[in-house]
C-alpha cells in the first residue's frame, strides 16, 4: 500500500478540533449521496434540510429547545468520560428524572411557584440516584459500569411504562398511556417570546460553564482528568479512583435527571412512556463530537439538534423515514472516530512500508 500511518511526535491540537468538522463534512456527503439516490438534487436538498428549520425565530427557538437536553446531558456525561467512567445509562437516568419530577408535579401541581424549581431539583436527584447504582456496583464489586448502567436503562423504561399504564394513567385520557396534563405552575417558563424555548437552555449553558471551570480550573477536576487519562498515574499520585467513579456517574445522572424534567415540563406538559426519545444515547455522541469539552459540547449539541429537527422536517416534507436521524448520528460518530485517528497519526506516502512502530530509546 502506498499510504502509511505514521505516529506524530505529539498529538495534533489542530486536528483535534478539525476532526469533528471532517466528520460532519463526511456525514453531509453521505446525506447528499442518499438524497441523490432518492432522486433529489443533493446540494439543494441538503441546504433546505439544514436551513429551513432555522428560517425564523420560532425555528431558532425549536433549535434551542432540542439542543438544551443534549447539551445538559452531554456536559454531565463528558465529566464522567474524561474521568474514564463510561456512563451509558443516561437514558434511564433521564427517565428517573421524569418519574421523580413527574411525581412531584402530579402530587403538588398548583401548590405554588416553588413546584417547578423543586421538580428540577428532585428530577436531578432521581437521575443521580439511578446513576449511583452502577457507581456503587463498580466501586464495591468492580462490576462494569457500561453494562450495569445499560441494563438499568431497560429497567427504568419498564418502570415508567408501569406507572403510565397504571397508577398515573389519566382517567380522562381515553385509556391512552399518558398521564394527566401537568399543572401550568409545574411547566418550565419560556425565555424567548413567541417560541417554545424554555429555561432549560439557560440551565444547559450554565452547566457548561460550571463544568468548564470545574474540569479545567480546580484540583478535583485535575484529579478526574488524570484518572481518565492515565489511571496508573492517578493511583501513584494518590487520587482516589472511587471518588472519580462517583463524581463521574453522579454528574451525568443529575444532568440527565434534570433533562428528564425538561421533557415533561416543557412543550409536552404530560408524561408519556416514550419520554426519553433517545436523548440519552444522542448525548453520548454530542459529548464525543464536542471533544469532551464544554464549549465544544454547546456547539455539537446545537449541531445535533439541527440534525434532529432537519430529520423531522425531512420526514414531514420530504417523506423520508424518521429513523434517518439516528442513522446519521451513528454515522457521524463513526466518522468522528475515524477522523480522530489523525490526531495521533498522520498519513504519509511512502514507497516502502514502514510499520507503525513508535520511536523508542534504543
Amino acid at each position: 500500500m502506498p499510504l502509511r500511518l505514521e505516529r506524530r511526535p505529539r498529538p495534533s491540537r489542530a486536528m483535534s478540533w478539525a476532526s469533528p468538522l471532517i466528520a460532519a463534512a463526511l456525514t453531509a456527503g453521505l446525506a447528499m449521496i442518499l438524497f441523490a439516490l432518492d432522486g433529489r438534487a443533493p446540494v439543494s436538498t441538503l441546504w433546505i434540510f439544514l436551513t429551513t428549520p432555522l428560517a425564523d425565530l420560532y425555528g431558532f427557538g425549536e433549535l434551542l429547545l432540542k439542543a438544551a437536553p443534549l447539551i445538559l446531558i452531554g456536559v454531565g456525561l463528558a465529566i464522567g468520560f474524561r474521568a474514564g467512567v463510561w456512563n451509558i445509562g443516561a437514558e434511564g437516568q433521564l427517565v428517573l428524572g421524569v418519574i421523580f419530577g413527574g411525581w412531584l408535579a402530579l402530587e403538588f401541581g398548583g401548590a405554588g411557584p416553588w413546584v417547578m424549581p423543586a421538580m428540577l431539583l428532585l428530577g436531578g436527584v432521581g437521575g443521580a440516584l439511578w446513576a449511583a447504582i452502577p457507581a456503587l456496583l463498580k466501586t464495591r464489586f468492580n462490576a462494569s459500569e457500561i453494562l450495569t448502567s445499560l441494563m438499568l436503562n431497560y429497567c427504568a423504561q419498564l418502570w415508567l411504562a408501569y406507572l403510565v399504564f397504571g397508577p398515573w394513567r389519566d382517567p380522562a385520557g381515553f385509556n391512552f398511556p399518558q398521564s394527566a396534563p401537568l399543572h401550568p405552575d409545574a411547566l418550565l417558563p419560556i425565555v424567548i417570546e413567541n417560541t417554545r424555548a424554555n429555561i432549560e437552555i439557560v440551565l444547559a449553558v450554565l452547566a457548561a460553564l460550571v463544568a468548564w471551570i470545574f474540569i479545567e480550573r480546580t484540583h478535583l477536576g485535575f484529579q478526574l482528568r488524570v484518572t481518565g487519562a492515565a489511571p496508573g498515574a492517578a493511583r501513584y499520585a494518590g487520587f482516589p479512583v472511587r471518588r472519580a467513579v462517583w463524581i463521574g456517574m453522579l454528574t451525568g445522572g443529575f444532568a440527565a435527571g434534570v433533562a428528564g424534567v425538561g421533557e415533561i415540563a416543557g412543550p409536552l406538559g404530560q408524561i408519556f412512556p416514550t419520554a426519553s426519545a433517545g436523548y440519552g444515547y444522542a448525548a453520548i455522541i454530542v459529548a464525543f463530537l464536542g471533544r469532551l469539552h464544554p464549549a465544544g459540547i454547546v456547539a455539537s449539541g446545537l449541531l445535533l439538534a439541527l440534525l434532529a429537527i432537519a430529520g423531522d422536517y425531512a420526514q414531514m416534507m420530504l417523506g423520508m423515514p424518521s429513523s434517518i436521524g439516528g442513522l446519521f448520528q451513528g454515522t457521524l460518530l463513526f466518522f468522528l472516530l475515524a477522523a480522530d485517528v489523525l490526531t495521533t497519526w498522520r498519513i504519509r506516502r511512502v514507497d516502502e512500508t514502514a510499520p507503525l512502530s513508535a520511536p523508542e530509546a534504543a
Binding site: 419498564l158 472516530l337 475515524a338
Partner: protein
C-alpha cells in the same frame, strides 16, 4: 406439576440467540477486541433475516444473509479498532447506535408483519428419533446449529493450533507478532466471526423466536450477550450454560405470570436485565479471578 417439556423447549429456544451472540463475542474478546456493537449487529441481522424470509427465501438462505449482514456491519468497527487503533468502547457504541438505527430504517416496511412458522423437513425428520424425538422435533435446526457452533468454538479454542494462536494474540499481541503471527489479520477474522454470529442471533429472534417484526425486537439481548461473556470468564462452556440460564430468565415471566399475577408484568419483563446486573456483580467481585481469565490485551489497541 406443570409439564416440563414445553418449559425445557422454551428455555432452549430463548437461550439460542444468546448462545450465538455470546460465543461470537467471546471469540472476538479472546483475540483482545471488545465489540460493544453486538446489539446493533443483532438488530440488522434480525431485519435482514426477516426480510429474506418475507421475500420467499428458505431459512438457511435467510440465516446466511443475516450472518453476512452482521459480518459486514462489523467490518467498519474492525477497521477502527484493529487497524486504526481507535477507542474500542466508543467504536462499539457507535456501531450499536448505527446498527439499531439502520435496522429500524430497513425494517419500516415490515413493522407488524408476521411469518407463518412451519416446521422444516429436518425438524419433521428429527421428530422421529426415538427418545429425543419429542424435544428435537420442536426445535428449529438453527438451535441444533447453535450446539454445533458451541462445539466448534470450544474445539477451536482449545484443540486447534489456530485457536492457540488466537488466545496468544489476546494475551499479548506484541509477543505474538514478535514470533511471527499476523495479529491484525487474526483480530479481523475474530471480529468478523463475532459479527456473523450476532447477525445469526438476530435472525433467530425475528424468524424463529417471535416470527414477527417490531421496533425494539432485540430489547437488549445483545448487551446481555456481552455481559454473558464476562459472566462466563471468557470460557465457552460457561457461556453456553449461562445463555440457557438467561433464556430461562427471559421466559420465566411467561410461565410465572399465572402464579404471580399480583406482580406487575413490567417487573417480570425486567427480570433478565436485573438478573444480568446481579450476575455481573457476583462474578466481578473476585477481581483476582477475573484478572486470571480476562484476555490481557482486551480493549487495548495494538500497532505492529
Amino acid at each position: 406439576m406443570p409439564d416440563l417439556l414445553p418449559v425445557l423447549v422454551a428455555a432452549l429456544v430463548a437461550g439460542t440467540p444468546l448462545v450465538y451472540a455470546a460465543l461470537g463475542e467471546l471469540v472476538a474478546e479472546r483475540a483482545g477486541v471488545i465489540n460493544l456493537g453486538v446489539e446493533g449487529m443483532m438488530v440488522v441481522g434480525a431485519v435482514v433475516g426477516f426480510a429474506a424470509m418475507m421475500g420467499g427465501a428458505g431459512w438457511p438462505a435467510a440465516a446466511l444473509a443475516a450472518a453476512a449482514a452482521g459480518a459486514a456491519l462489523s467490518l467498519p468497527f474492525a477497521v477502527l479498532a484493529v487497524s486504526l487503533g481507535a477507542n474500542q468502547i466508543a467504536a462499539g457504541l457507535a456501531l450499536t447506535i448505527f446498527g439499531t438505527s439502520l435496522g429500524s430504517y430497513l425494517g419500516k416496511p415490515y413493522v407488524g408483519m408476521a411469518l407463518t412458522p412451519e416446521p422444516s423437513a429436518l425438524q419433521q425428520a428429527a421428530a422421529g428419533i426415538p427418545g429425543l424425538g419429542p424435544v428435537m422435533g420442536q426445535l428449529h435446526p438453527l438451535v441444533w446449529l447453535s450446539w454445533a457452533v458451541f462445539g466448534g468454538v470450544w474445539w477451536f479454542l482449545y484443540r486447534a493450533r489456530a485457536g492457540l494462536v488466537l488466545r496468544a494474540v489476546g494475551e499479548s499481541p506484541a509477543s505474538a507478532w514478535a514470533i511471527g503471527h499476523p495479529v491484525a489479520r487474526i483480530r479481523y477474522l475474530a471480529v468478523l466471526f463475532g459479527g456473523a454470529m450476532a447477525g445469526l442471533a438476530g435472525a433467530f429472534v425475528s424468524v424463529v423466536y417471535t416470527a414477527l417484526w417490531t421496533e425494539g425486537l432485540i430489547a437488549g439481548r445483545g448487551w446481555i450477550a456481552v455481559a454473558l461473556v464476562v459472566f462466563a470468564t471468557w470460557r465457552p462452556g460457561r457461556c453456553f450454560a449461562g445463555a440457557y440460564l438467561f433464556g430461562g430468565a427471559t421466559i420465566a415471566q411467561l410461565f410465572g405470570q399465572t402464579a404471580l399475577a399480583a406482580v406487575p408484568s413490567e417487573l417480570m419483563s425486567a427480570l433478565p436485565y436485573l438478573a444480568t446486573v446481579v450476575v455481573l456483580v457476583v462474578i466481578s467481585r473476585d477481581e483476582a479471578r477475573l484478572r486470571l481469565h480476562v484476555p490481557a490485551s482486551l480493549g487495548k489497541p495494538f500497532a505492529a
